[in-house]
Symmetry: D2
Subunit: 366 residues, 4 copies
């Protein structure tokens, strides 16, 4: 209820702060009988971890995950799975200068007003570092969804600041430091130059991320409030720095006519996917397509006007190690949140309606 659990039936409760001894989570509700070891989880954490290129924070964290419970002889037992990730590279002194004042655009101000106390080391609880445990938990969700329904996830950065990245194929995503779905080397180089210039300026930039889930069973979603798209919006807007969420045609729907937007059906399936795989809050069996807007990092070296705790004017410059574009590492996080929403709805669906069919219908594969 205090907001640190995600999901109702596959419930992930996270804990930890950026510079505490450890971060982690407890996953309650994982179905029993799933083969599971750390090796299933680590690759997803590695996709998200810091320090993998010069365009992200240089904090060195191996993000090695340890399973503390819920698995016996390599199989989930249906009891809570606890994941532990130790913080290895805390340098709290880097953040000393921001303990008494509030970074513009940062949670400093609101945490202090809400709780009357805050852990300023690396953003404390509000740090994007806290997405690591959910990425770990989602690795388990992805594995179960894959085995049960063949569901798969993919994502990419489709815009970096002013630079749009035309979609080519998800297969290119691992081949560049931006999760860009392109093989256009010149475009990648342009993005690298763009980021280098930003770092030099002591500034940061926003990004747009697209994620998709394929082979989703028909029927997931609990209208009329816990609609699948409502829960996806909740999950995505809850990721650090996200300011906008679209499903399917998103804001383009505003200027569409009904005769254009509504995806027709034929015996071979849907013709088009303006719906983004969700109608009436329930999955159609088509790909679920989601886009999110990520704001620029608020911790920048450029001096900015702010106030201190006593309300006095100050100038704030943030040193320390920060991602100049938090959007870069957001793709695996957005995929993770989508996976957590889907497994939760899969379990909710079978609670009320019984087990969903393993295969999606032939229609809906447009």
């Amino acid at each position: 209820m205090s907001g640190n659990s995600f999901g109702k039936l596959f419930t992930v409760t996270t804990f930890g702060e950026s510079h505490g001894p450890a971060i982690g989570c407890v996953i309650d509700g994982c179905p029993p009988g799933l083969a599971l070891s750390e090796a299933d989880i680590q690759p997803e954490l590695d996709r998200r971890k810091p320090g993998t290129s010069r365009h992200v924070t240089q904090r060195q964290e191996p993000d090695t995950v340890q399973i503390l419970s819920g698995v016996y002889q390599g199989v989930t037992t249906g009891t809570p799975i606890a994941l532990l990730i130790k913080n290895e590279d805390q340098r709290s002194k880097d953040y000393g200068n921001i303990a008494e004042s509030f970074r513009p655009g940062h949670a400093d101000y609101t945490y202090w007003h809400k709780y009357g106390v805050r852990d300023p080391r690396g953003g404390g609880r509000s740090s994007a570092r806290l997405t690591a445990p959910v990425v770990g938990a989602a690795a388990i969700a992805k594995k179960w969804l894959k085995e049960k329904y063949g569901t798969e996830f993919a994502g990419c950065m489709s815009q970096l600041g002013e630079i749009e990245v035309p979609f080519e194929s998800f297969e290119h995503v691992p081949s560049n430091p931006f999760f860009a779905a392109t093989s256009d080397a010149a475009l990648i180089e342009r993005m690298e130059d763009y980021m280098d210039a930003l770092r030099k300026d002591g500034d940061s930039i926003g990004a747009r991320i697209d994620v998709v889930a394929r082979n989703v069973p028909v029927g997931l979603g609990q209208p009329i409030y816990d609609k699948l798209d409502a829960d996806i919006a909740y999950a995505m807007m809850g990721i650090n720095a996200v300011k906008g969420v679209e499903i399917g045609a998103g804001f383009d729907s505003v200027a569409q006519r009904g005769s254009e937007h509504g995806d027709e059906l034929t015996p071979q399936g849907f013709v088009g996917n303006n719906a983004g795989g969700v109608l009436g809050g329930i999955s159609t069996g088509q790909d679920i397509t989601v886009s999110i807007a990520i704001k620029p990092t608020s911790s920048i070296r450029t001096p900015r006007r702010s106030i201190d705790k006593d309300g006095n004017p100050v100038m704030v410059e943030t040193f320390g190690r920060h991602d100049p574009c938090v959007g870069i590492r957001a793709t695996p996080i957005a995929e993770a949140m989508l996976a957590l929403v889907l497994i939760d709805h899969a379990l909710m669906h079978r609670a009320q309606c019984g087990d969903v069919s393993v295969a999606t219908p032939d229609i809906g594969k447009a």
Copy 2:
């Protein structure tokens, strides 16, 4: 858990279908001691009700609300408040032709796959008619928030299809059939002609709606998952036909630099509101600003390809009474959802942190 309750502490559970005997809701968690009668609720329902202009559905529903419980001698008692609204103008035969096939872009297909059975009369449970009870419940939330914190809500349509509506003042919203915040009579006439043409074509159109909450206390929001903006996104995406949600700068954040996006602070308050009143998932005390994209109505007279329950190809034309732009009546609904999110977070905040200060700080009024 099955999705028909909204809110965790101010919990609204709705029931009913478009053409059943009645719709309504139970509100659990309303603070005791609030003066309340039907007269506090009816005006909000009247803003949303059908039949108020030729541009919305012609179904005639007075939407008269009755309080069945939870109020004694004109004051809330802290026990559940049940609201009942009778359906007066059911014409189920209008919908007979869609019982066996699926309207493109409509929940017909997914409800049938999910539940194996569906009530086709007027869309059954998936009808936008079901937003009436939440508008009623939100009238109570609005009253409490106004009395407690001075919080107020406003909203308008900012785009109708291709027609953008420049914001002038919320005071003009009640003076035209579109909830447009403009006094530009020529623009309103253009919108009327646009809608008339659409109806003639048997087609429909999307819209963009903006809503705002003012005088919001600092500190509402339960990071790191039940962030205020995450719950707003959930609430908004759950409204019928919504495909996109933005908070503050929204998708414009993608191309913004950190030095531009992050709202600076001075002793006089925030300078700008790219944040939309939320930082780190917690309210800043500034206005909360939200935009949503509403897709065009899926029930249109234009013939469209679809399939029947047996998978055979059919052409679907939807007669009966429908809003040609569901966005028109969406403004009071979006305000209602925002109010429900805020009261829920206000109660959650005082659970954990004690009562919030009645006045927002001077800063944050930029």
Copy 3:
């Protein structure tokens, strides 16, 4: 969260007060496809309703139930089922004398302290009349459990004040006004005389009720907190006037040795049922056996010392219509609560573990 919903997946949210216009509930999460009409519900309400003998309250309420939603063409649709029961025989003046003071042993005192306001008419929300909607909801649960697993419920009064009622057979329960599982006419007459004497004295008495569920699937229960027996205890202790709950051997376990208490297993099943059908918080497939202690009615004609709202001493005598033994009508209520717990756990179980087998194993039928 404010306590007026019961169950997590088969969620019953009730509303109403003893003397308001109506009482009722919304059931969210009922599986779709269940044949259902008012005729399935009314018989359970009739078992509980007042006025059926001289030993219970003489308030005349037909307790006629109306289904407002969630059923289409005689089948549940998976959407919320609203039940409405009108209050027909309110006589609020009967209770005028208790509006300003607190009946000893009654919720008057605590409701007033908690909420600062209370509806004194007939006990308002705290009246046992509010068990009617849950009995209605449980009729649906019972029907589904019966069809799905063959689960059946029975209950009886096993003690009325000092009078113990030896168990003979549940078939005798409907044949006497006390829900006694006996065919001993002399015993029944003794109970009638006992009740007549109590009424003459203007006093009331407690009772002990036993309920049982048969043909319960193995595996229901969500340890380690939402154990099946924990939720049963919650459900039972939440019934008006209940002060004690036992599962299986209950308090007799205190003086038992492990070699006596632990039910042995043979290939033919369990030998004994000290467990009451629950081990480790999970159903064994044996009968679930529960006993509850019901305190004597607090509203009695005998004058008693109390205070008024200003803290002044007063004498309180309660006139009006009251059950001299609330335990008499408690049997169908206790069965109802047990049924609601079981359906909720059946749905939770299939969320995490998939569908339970329809048949209980041969073992466990001891």
Copy 4:
């Protein structure tokens, strides 16, 4: 939802198995600003830990607690508090003989049927060892309740098998190995002999535990389902081996008359406490009094009939280290559960009704 979280607003999610690497919990919803360190928690864990006398299990566990998050500079921050307790003395081989068969009276049978897999080492998740994290969490709850309302907890064993322990004073509880509230050395010696004889017999015994909370604010409880006593019953019945729960007069209420049971009020407070501090599901401000029945340990050396996983008859003798009376260490656990219920209801109350008064009224101190 899968049952491993306790509490709605002060939510404790536990993880771990008896013989895994570690056990622990995440506490979400702790109010910020509470001074807290491991030194506040360890003493409660020490009261519960094994190996403190020859009458409990000889497993050697220091149960040293480590706070991983949620505390900064010695003060709670309002973010999740993770507690970690390492398992030091696992000897899994001791339990090898029970991996393939089911101990009578034990969760072996039901876990295996529910999940299709189970961790047999020391009872896995069903072990009473898993009460350690909640005792740790409750130490935090107790501290907050003490500081906020002056609430205090106490408990004792009032019956060991056939031996009743007359209540003298809680001050004697720490002075004997049984949590007995007596200074009667002869009685303690009798209990020691009784336990020694049991161990020699390879058998076990039940117990009765009484717990009390003092200085409880008036008004806690969320009727009509989340009544304070309903949640207490849930909490207590959920403790390992509990088969019965009583509040106040409990089962004695059955034979009481209304004129005897209902606690009269005078301007000086309640006269008697048959209610056990709860009326209508809401705290009265009086002491909350609870009794529980604990069954005898199911793991005993005495050979017993059972079956193996294939349904074949076997004889089961359980060696390894077990408490011959799990009731002995149950007192701090029962206190802990009561504290967790009270803090949760205190937070729920202030969500809906605002902050409760720090002092309980003078009345209600009878």
